[in-house]
Structure formats: structure tokens, C-alpha cells
């Protein structure tokens, strides 16, 4: 039922995108994106903020940062999806770090690199998107980018 609702939301989005002559993979500035949080150590004690570890990646396995396109369906749907992902990974799902696509596009390095976001639907999650990450320029560079993402992100707990 959950996946049926996700795909229904995606088809609605595809139809809307085609009528606006846009690719369904294009993520508009107003879209809300959310990164699932599976570790308590990613959540800052004070305020609704997350820690940079949520947006850091292993040096040996650099890949885009996975997010959900939260604007395309109800938040409760994504919370349910997060819980399923948590069960599959044998982890507790704590909530989602949310930010808009417009703010993601303001994230940049001091060498001119700029973060982008693109829809990357999969069978298991048609409302999936990826945030591009820079090539390996050192841990300090990655932390600088993660800091900007932490600044724009707001943590929403799974049980509000």
C-alpha cells in the first residue's frame, strides 16, 4: 500500500512535469527534500539541528547524498518509508533532516564548486533524489560542505 501511494504520487508529478515541459528528474527550487536519520549521533542535543556526520561520506566510497522529495507526497508517507528502511537496515529511524532545493543550490565550496540536486527514481523509491558531492578534496573540504548543509537543514523527529 505504501509503495502504491509513492508511485501514485510520482505519476502525478510526472504528469505535472510534462505539462510544464520539464523533466520529471528536475527538482524545482521550492521542493522540500529530506534525508533520513538512522543514528542518534547525527542529532544535535540542542535545537532542531543535525550534525555534519549526516552529510559526510566514506573516503573509499564516495557517492551522492540520498534524499527524498518530501513535497511530492505526505510527510507521514515518508516517515513510514523511513521506518521500513530502518527495519531493513536493523536501525532505528529517528526522523528526517529537511531543507529546500533552493537552499541546496546555495551550498558551494570556496573553489567555486556548487551542489546540485537531481531526481533519481528507483523501483523501491520513485521519489528519491541525489545531492551531488565534490570530488575528493580533503576531509576539511567535505566538512565545510557538510557544515553548510547542517545550517540549512532542520531536523524533524519521526514521532512529532
Amino acid at each position: 500500500m505504501l509503495y502504491y501511494r509513492l508511485w501514485l504520487a510520482y505519476f502525478r508529478h510526472v504528469v505535472r512535469a510534462f505539462t510544464q515541459r520539464q523533466s520529471p528528474h528536475f527538482v524545482a527550487d521550492f521542493e522540500l527534500l529530506g534525508r533520513e536519520v538512522f543514528s542518534e549521533s547525527h542529532i544535535r542535543k540542542s535545537a532542531k539541528k543535525v550534525k555534519p556526520g549526516l552529510f559526510l561520506h566514506k573516503k573509499s566510497r564516495r557517492r551522492p547524498i540520498s534524499v527524498n522529495r518530501m513535497s511530492l507526497a505526505n510527510r507521514s508517507l515518508f516517515m513510514a518509508l523511513g521506518r521500513i528502511h530502518g527495519q531493513k537496515r536493523d536501525h532505528t529511524f529517528y526522523g528526517v533532516a529537511e531543507f529546500t532545493a533552493a537552499k541546496v543550490r546555495t551550498v558551494q565550496g570556496d573553489d567555486g564548486w556548487q551542489m546540485q540536486v537531481r531526481g533519481t527514481p528507483s523501483f523501491a523509491n520513485p521519489l528519491h533524489a541525489d545531492l551531488t558531492i565534490p570530488e575528493d578534496k580533503g576531509k576539511d573540504y567535505d566538512i565545510m560542505i557538510a557544515d553548510q548543509l547542517c545550517e540549512i537543514a532542520e531536523f524533524r523527529p519521526a514521532r512529532e
Partner: protein, 217 residues
């Protein structure tokens, strides 16, 4: 009875060559100052929580054990017999108590921070729900040593784990932010941001990072 006949200065144990003598028990030296019982209890709590800080207390003696205070104690051997003496306070004594409490607060905060850093050892492979490495004990050691070296500034920091198995420390203060990530070899990657200005470095030595931290934040 003449005051000088009953003078009892804090006892010292033999110290190693080149180190300062340390009183046998802090209770002795503190009691000699006729400090309120609550302060003595707090000082004992500090001693229990922060073993290392015991050596720092040795610094108190030259300041806090003036002869007059000890003589006063000698005339009235037990302050329990003179309740009014428990509340008597001088500016020097008040300042000493305040300093002790500050020291205790800092010591406890430092220990709590180091404990939360060590807690990261419990994170197993894949702790982030993906493929994160378990946190390296070497990285934790270096982070704890850095916290000690940082002194009272360490109270602003909070630990965070890195998917590469490293320990990170972050601090937020108004528009200023500091991030540190500790490599296994003791070197540090850091990012300091003050308003829009960012200063960063990779694989830097701890003393250099502390200098930059003091200059930037």
C-alpha cells in the same frame, strides 16, 4: 594554649622529582581553611570525579593556606564546635570557593565530554544505516588528548562520529562554528567559520590547530 603549638599544615606525600608536592588528602587542606561543610563535600566530589585535577589543587596551597587562617583553626580545633565559624567568610575565602567551584564545573564538563567521545566506541560498522566504519580507538585517544590540551574552551564542544571511523568535535557560538576531525595518526582536519569567513586545514598538528582556534574564534 599558644596557637603555634597546635599548628597543623596539610601533609604532603613524597612527590616524584621535578613535580610539585601534592597534599595527602584535599579534605585536610580544605578543612584547615575552615571552609563550609558543603564546599568540602563539593571538593571531595571533585576529587572523586576528576583525579587529574588533584595536582592543580596543589596550586591552591600557597594562596589558600595563609598562616593566619591556619592559626585561626589551631585556636579553635574543630569548627563543628563553633557553628558560627562555619558561616564566617572573608573575600579571599569566597574567591577561593568560587574558583574551586569553577574548577569543578570545568573538570566535570571536560570529563563528560571525554566520556561522550569514548561512547562513540560503541558504534559498530554500519552505524549510520549505510556502510560507516566503526570509530577508531586511536582517533578517540587523540580527541581526548586534544580536549585536555584545549582547557576551559573544551566546554563548548560536542562530539560527532565520521563515517570514515574518525571522531569529530564541533562547537557553535553565535555566528562562529568550529569543526575538528581527528585522524588516527593524531593529525587534525579542521574548519572554522566566523560569520561568512571560513578557515580550514587538513592534516594539521594539534598545537597549530589550537593556535588557529584561539586566533579565529
Amino acid at each position: 594554649m599558644p596557637a603555634s603549638a597546635t599548628l597543623e599544615y596539610p601533609k604532603y606525600r613524597d612527590s616524584e622529582p621535578g613535580t610539585k608536592a601534592v597534599p595527602v588528602a584535599w579534605e585536610d587542606s580544605i578543612t584547615a581553611l575552615q571552609m563550609p561543610r558543603a564546599a568540602v563535600t563539593r571538593a571531595q566530589s571533585l576529587q572523586a570525579h576528576v583525579g587529574k585535577l588533584g595536582q592543580l589543587f596543589a596550586l591552591i596551597d600557597p594562596i589558600a593556606s595563609p598562616k593566619s587562617a591556619v592559626e585561626e583553626f589551631a585556636v579553635k580545633p574543630s569548627f563543628r564546635e563553633y557553628p558560627s565559624q562555619q558561616t564566617a567568610s572573608s573575600p579571599a575565602r569566597t574567591a577561593l570557593i568560587a574558583w574551586l567551584l569553577d574548577l569543578r564545573a570545568w573538570g566535570v564538563e571536560t570529563e563528560q565530554l571525554k566520556a561522550s567521545v569514548r561512547d562513540l566506541l560503541n558504534l559498530k560498522r554500519g552505524w549510520d544505516g549505510e556502510d560507516a566504519e566503526p570509530i577508531s580507538p586511536h582517533s578517540i585517544e587523540h580527541a581526548c588528548a586534544f580536549i585536555d590540551a584545549l582547557g576551559s574552551r573544551s566546554k563548548d564542544f560536542e562530539p560527532f562520529p565520521d563515517p570514515d571511523g574518525l571522531v569529530g568535535l564541533e562547537a557553535h557560538k553565535k555566528d562562529k562554528v568550529a569543526y575538528l576531525s581527528f585522524y588516527e595518526d593524531g593529525l587534525i582536519a579542521y574548519v572554522f567559520r566566523a560569520n561568512e569567513a571560513v578557515h580550514r586545514g587538513n592534516k594539521s598538528k594539534p598545537d597549530a590547530v589550537i593556535r588557529v582556534l584561539n586566533a579565529v574564534l
